[in-house]
Each structure stands twice: as structure tokens, then as C-alpha cells.
Subunit: 413 residues, 2 copies
């Protein structure tokens, strides 16, 4: 299904690539000095699709957004605050989310249920609502479609992120130019089933709610659900897509060429955000791509790939630039999936070369120097061929370093 | 079922506490200079029970030992080498294990199938069989029942362990004194379903094979299967019990008072080994006990407890001495178990005091100073009360420190 993406062009306007959207980002005081609030706005009501954390403990804003998804409410604004996740905050948290939506709605002359809310940061602290409300009121008038506003928004949603995650694409559907902007945040607590981070996509594509949700769910399965930093699924993870139709393409209401083109744009955007998050994984020094070929099924291959990428022993070995295929095999072994170990092929690859470590389940003699050279690179691919079926699966992760421990040993205090 | 253990007395002879056993430990050259081989020996054929790794990839010695368990072979010797796990070594590995058993059997005048083999260390390297064979031949004549020999054996099975793990108990069954010695190793790759380490118990109790295996399986479920260091299940984990009957107590062939007494001794021994392993967890600075009360079922409570103890975010928070109950709750939330969050009670306790963090799902205001004080201790208890059922579950783990990363980034090279 995936056609080559190189037909798409990049749009330098990042999150504000698509027609009819505005953004703002600023400081409200939840964080000491950094930007801590973003608002995204569509000039016209937009179709909304969402995918949310599978954590049994869901933050108040997630419940709010899920409810609006069920209601099929057309959306015009998203308020995102960082620094405080408004999770495990009981009824007060629910009230505070509603107040945020209402405050924004009043300022923008919308209904409360046209405003989505996302929060990220520490858990279990009530939101400082005075600052939040004032922040929304001050920020709304600054909404703009210039480059700076988009950047401010992308910056304002960061927590432990070290890099801004923004992406823009220009595509063509049925002869009409369409655009898609996206931004995301997340660097820890990254192990979806679903997002484990925040992702926002704003597009001017004209598409039905059903097809938008279908595309999002499928693209999330192949991107956000295939990344892992530390195996922890957060209480707040959300990926939200707004499509306002302003590109004017004939409406996409079924599968076919137009849907495929849209799907590819969405897939590329989410893959960009997801892999950016992994590359920015807390303390990460390596970006790992695990490719499983010949898996029994997608789920089976996914479990094997995830088992490898969540193994602390595998992760520390990559940090140590050690071709420790034994740990990879052990992690495959406890994935819960059965496979014929006598048919396993294992290969490591980077810009510096490629080296086979295991063939037919038997260790290949290999040059430790060559392996070391390959592993000194930041981007490393692990290729595993099984002979259980024909499914191909790709997943992404990172290593486990001193800095991960440092960042997470210090985070709250 | 568990009566108080303080009726039991400690036997200072460690692994050689029971009648009729001998041990030896020495250097064969698999490791550069440290002891790397142990032999345990029973003067008479002993009943044997075992519990092994659930990893789909099983090392050659595990296959050997499992086969002898199926064969119900009476056992007289165990050969254990450290430094090389003889895992993922194909047919050569199987042959090498057999050669080890045969070499030992010839020297001790036993049948090959009376000798168990355990290996621990790096994966995927063929055993240096010349050294191993010579090592067995040299070590057998040094078998002795003195204190030094037991210590040598316990020392020889260590890999990244920083402390010797040995334990001895004296009990009384049907008016007869019985004894139980045990030793273990393991500091990383600790997440059973089953052992993730090596554990050996030698007892002179007179018991049937069926009751011995039953007691072992049940005790392992409550001990080794309740610990986690890094979530990785190794290819070699084994817990082996030999019972030679030399205490002369009336044979234990059914449940009842005598079985219970035996079970308690076994449980205490395995709990000692399992918690010692966690305390010696690679790089660990904290020993964490998680108690779940009011769980729906044992399995449900176990999954919740394990989810907490394998969360890198929880582990780094304890390393940072941070009362970050939000991460604990998030880990409970993605355990896959559902529970009423509005009924959750959460408490932290150490020798310095006790502090409630959450009640009825609502964060309790607490003194950060008091929390810090409690968390400065090494041994910390996390108590979680649910209202889902009546099951109580205890599990053990440790924090995640810089040193874990250092140890495992460097292990192989």
C-alpha cells in the first residue's frame, strides 16, 4: 500500500502548513520560565480523529477528548498545556479541563465542546487554574498563521524533549494541492499501545470523519505503536488530527487512490513524529530500527521486535556499542512468541557497513573491530529473518544510557 | 499456610548444611582468574526436583536437566560452570553438556544420567571443553563436606554478583532434625517466570519425588517468580533441589503437618536466595518490596506488582529517592489489570517511618522532607490496597541506577 514518499514535498511551515490554521505558544507560569501553553485553531469547524493511551488510568483531558470523539463534535481549537498532566486529579481535574475548554471557547466565540484539551507533565498535582485561565485569555489574541507562532506552539508543548518536533508536507490529491502540518512531544514514557506522547496533525484535506479515523488508526499502528523508549505507557498519550477541508479536494469518503495518497501523507507525518520522539528518547545515544522479516503475523513480529527494544540488557549493550546478539536472542525468546531458533538470521547495519551475527541459529564468526565500527554510528538497523511466515514488521527504539537514569532520577524534584 | 519461620534455626554450614553432601569449587580457566566451576555431590542417590526458565530459547544444560527430570533419574552430582552459559551453541552445546556429565560420572563412578549440569555466563560461545573437562577431573577429588568447600562452590557460581548467596536452615519434622542448605547466583536478567538465575537446595529430608516437586513449584511461584531486576528472562535459569533422605524422618508422601514444615523451610530458603539476588541486583541501591492487598486474584496482583517493579520510570524515581507515586499509578494502569482507581490506597515505608501518598485515588498532601527521609533507606516497602478482592501478593525488585547501565554496557567486552 505504501507508495514512495519522495513524491511528496516538504512544507517549511511546520505545524502551520495547511490552510486555515493558526497557532500560538507562550508562558503562563505552570513552568518557571519556559513556554508551557499552546493553542491551535482552525478558522472553520474541522473533522476530528483521535487515538489515545491504553493506560487504564487516563488523565482528565484524555477523557474529555475521547468524549468529544464519541460525540462527533466538530472541533475548532486545541489547548495544550505542559508542565502538569492533570492526571490522577479526581473530579477537580475533570472540572479544570472543562474550565480550560470553556475559557478558550468564550474567547474564540465557540461552543465548549469545540475545544480539545491536552495536558502533559507531572501527575497528581492540581492544575494552577488561575495561571491557566489567565494564560488562555492572554494567548488567544496572539493566534496567528505566521511561522513564528507555529514554532512557539511546538516549543510550548515540550517537556523533557531536547528538540522541537515539527513537520510539514505538501501533497496532491485529485489534482488539488493539499497540505499537512504536524508537531509532537515526548521523550520518555514511550511505549504505546497508542501514543505515549502528544501528536497533532492539522490538514486542509477534505475527508469524511470515518475515513480520517480509519487512516489515523492504521497509521498509528504502524508508527506510534511501533516505538518504545522505556516501556512505560503514560496516562495522557494522545494523537489528534484535525482536517478542515479548506484544500477543496473532492471529499475522500472511501478507499482508493485519493485515500491512499492521504494515508501516505499521514503515515509519513506520524512516522516522522514517532521516530523523532525515539531519537530524542531520554538520554538516548542510539536510534535503533528493528526489522523482522518472515514473521508468523504482524502481531507476532511486533511482539518480538518490541521485546528486543524494551530489553534493558539489549539497550545497554547498544549503549556500550557491543554486538551482544545473545541478549537480542534471549529477548526474542521471552517475547512469548515461538519460532524455530535454527532458522534465525541476525544482521546489524549502519552507515559504516553491515555484519551478519547469526545464521541458521548458529553464531557466525565476525570481526569485533568491524562490529564496533558499525555500532559507533548513531543510527543502527537490526535485521532479523525468521521462517515462520511472510509478515514484515518495523519498530524503533533507543539505547539506555547513564543520562536516562539521570533525567528520570531527577525529574520531579 | 505459612507458619512463622522463627521456629527454624540457622545452620552455619550454608550450602552444606544437610547430611551426606559434599561440595567443591575452583578455577578451570573459563574465567581469567576467578573461580568458575562448582560441583555438588550426594553420597547416596537423591530425589530431584527442578524449575526452569520459560524462555523459548533454552540453553543446552537446561534441556539436559529437564530431560533427567522427566526420566525421574536419581541424581548424585551437579556440575556448574560460570563464565559461559553454553546457550545458542547448537548441537555442539548439547554434546558438550553430555561430555561434562560423562566426565563427572566417570570420576565419581556414577551413570551419566545421575549428573545435572548448569552453565551461566555469556551466550553463544562454545564452551572451552579442554579446560572444562580438565577442570571437572581436577575438582572431583577435592569434594569435601567442610565449610570451606561449600563456600568455594558458592563463590564459583557467581558472575556479576557482588555477594555470596548461601543459606542454611535446621528444622524438625516428626521429631527428627532435618537440614537444608542452599546457594544461588544472579544479579541481572532477573525476571522470572521461573528463575532467571541459578538456585540450588540440598536437603537430607526424606520425601517423595511428587511432594518435592510440588513444594518446589509452589515455593518458586511465591519467591523466584516474584522478583525482578530488569525484566529480562535468561536462557539458563534453573532452581534445583536434591533431597537424599539421610535425615531419616518418616517419608513425606502427602500434604499435612510434615509437608508444611518442609514447605516452610523450602520457602524460606528460596525467599532468602531470591531476595538476595534482588538486593544484589546489578547496580541496585534500593531493595523494594511491593505488597498488594485486596487484589482480584493472585495473578492479577502479581501483574500489578510486576508492572510497578519493571517500570524504568518507577525504578529511576526510587534511585532518585523521589516519592513519585504518579509513576507507580501509571505502571499499575498499564499492567493490563483493571481496578477502581478511586479505591486505591498507596503507602511508602522504611525503617525511618511510613507515609501515605494516595487515598481513595486522591493524592494526600505529604511532607516532601519526610518522604525523602523514608526513601533514603535502602529497604523500602510499597503498600498498595485495592478493593477488588481479598488476595495478598508480595513481590520484590530494585531501583535502576547509573551502575546498572555501566555494568551492562560493559559486560561482554
Amino acid at each position: 500500500m505504501l507508495e514512495r514518499v519522495d513524491k511528496m514535498k516538504h512544507n517549511k511551515n511546520g505545524i502551520l502548513s495547511a490552510k486555515g490554521f493558526k497557532a500560538a505558544g507562550g508562558h503562563t507560569g505552570v513552568k518557571r520560565s519556559k513556554k508551557d501553553m499552546a493553542i491551535l485553531y482552525s478558522q472553520v469547524p474541522a473533522i476530528y480523529a483521535g487515538a489515545f493511551t491504553t493506560n487504564h488510568v487516563k488523565a482528565a483531558p484524555v477523557l474529555w477528548d475521547k468524549n468529544l470523539l464519541t460525540e462527533k463534535s466538530p472541533i475548532q481549537a486545541i489547548v495544550i498545556n505542559s508542565g502538569n498532566a492533570n492526571a490522577v486529579t479526581g473530579n477537580q481535574g475533570i472540572e479544570d479541563t472543562k474550565t480550560m475548554a470553556k475559557t478558550c471557547a468564550v474567547k474564540l466565540n465557540l461552543n465548549t465542546n469545540q475545544v480539545l484539551i491536552c495536558s502533559t507533565g507531572i501527575i497528581g498535582q492540581p492544575l494552577p487554574m488561575e495561571k491557566i485561565v489567565k494564560g488562555i485569555e492572554n494567548l488567544v489574541p496572539t493566534l496567528d498563521d505566521n511561522r513564528e507562532s507555529g514554532k512557539n506552539a511546538a516549543e510550548a508543548i515540550m517537556t523533557t524533549d531536547t528538540s522541537l518536533k515539527e513537520y510539514g508536507l505538501i501533497g496532491e490529491i485529485d489534482g488539488v494541492e493539499v497540505n499537512m502540518g504536524s508537531m509532537g512531544k515526548g521523550a520518555g514514557m514511550i511505549e504505546p499501545n497508542m501514543a505515549t506522547m502528544l501528536g497533532f496533525v492539522l490538514t486542509d484535506v477534505n475527508i469524511t470523519r470515518e475515513m480520517l479515523q480509519k487512516a489515523l488508526s492504521e497509521a498509528v499502528n504502524l508508527t506510534f505503536n511501533m516505538i518504545t523508549v522505556d516501556g512505560d505507557t503514560s496516562t495522557n498519550d494522545s494523537v489528534i488530527v484535525l482536517a478542515n477541508g479548506m484544500a477543496g479536494n473532492p471529499i475522500i469518503d472511501k478507499e482508493g487512490k485519493a485515500y491512499e495518497k492521504f494515508f501516505n501523507m499521514l503515515f509519513e507525518s506520524l512516522k516522522y513524529l514517532a521516530t523523532s520522539i525515539v531519537k530524542d528518547g531520554e538520554g538516548a545515544t542510539k536510534f535503533l530500527e528493528v526489522n523482522i522479516q518472515g514473521a508468523k503475523s504482524f502481531e507476532s513480529g511486533k511482539r518480538i521486535a518490541k521485546s528486543i527494544l524494551t530489553s534493558n540488557l539489549v539497550k545497554t549493550a547498544f549503549f556500550g556499542e557491543d554486538a551482544n546478539w545473545g541478549r537480542i536472542l534471549a529477548a526474542m525468546g521471552y517475547s512469548g512468541e515461538s519460532f524455530n531458533i535454527n532458522k534465525v538470521y541476525l544482521n546489524l547495519e549502519s552507515a559504516r557497513g553491515s555484519i551478519g551475527l547469526l545464521k541458521g541459529g548458529v553464531p557466525l564468526g565476525f570481526s569485533e573491530e568491524k562490529a564496533k565500527e558499525i555500532l559507533e554510528e548513531r543510527d543502527i538497523k537490526v535485521l532479523i529473518k525468521l521462517e515462520e511466515g511472510i509478515e514484515k514488521v518495523t519498530a524503533w527504539g533507543c539505547d539506555l544510557s547513564y543520562d536516562y537514569v539521570k533525567i528520570n532520577g531527577d525529574y520531579r524534584t
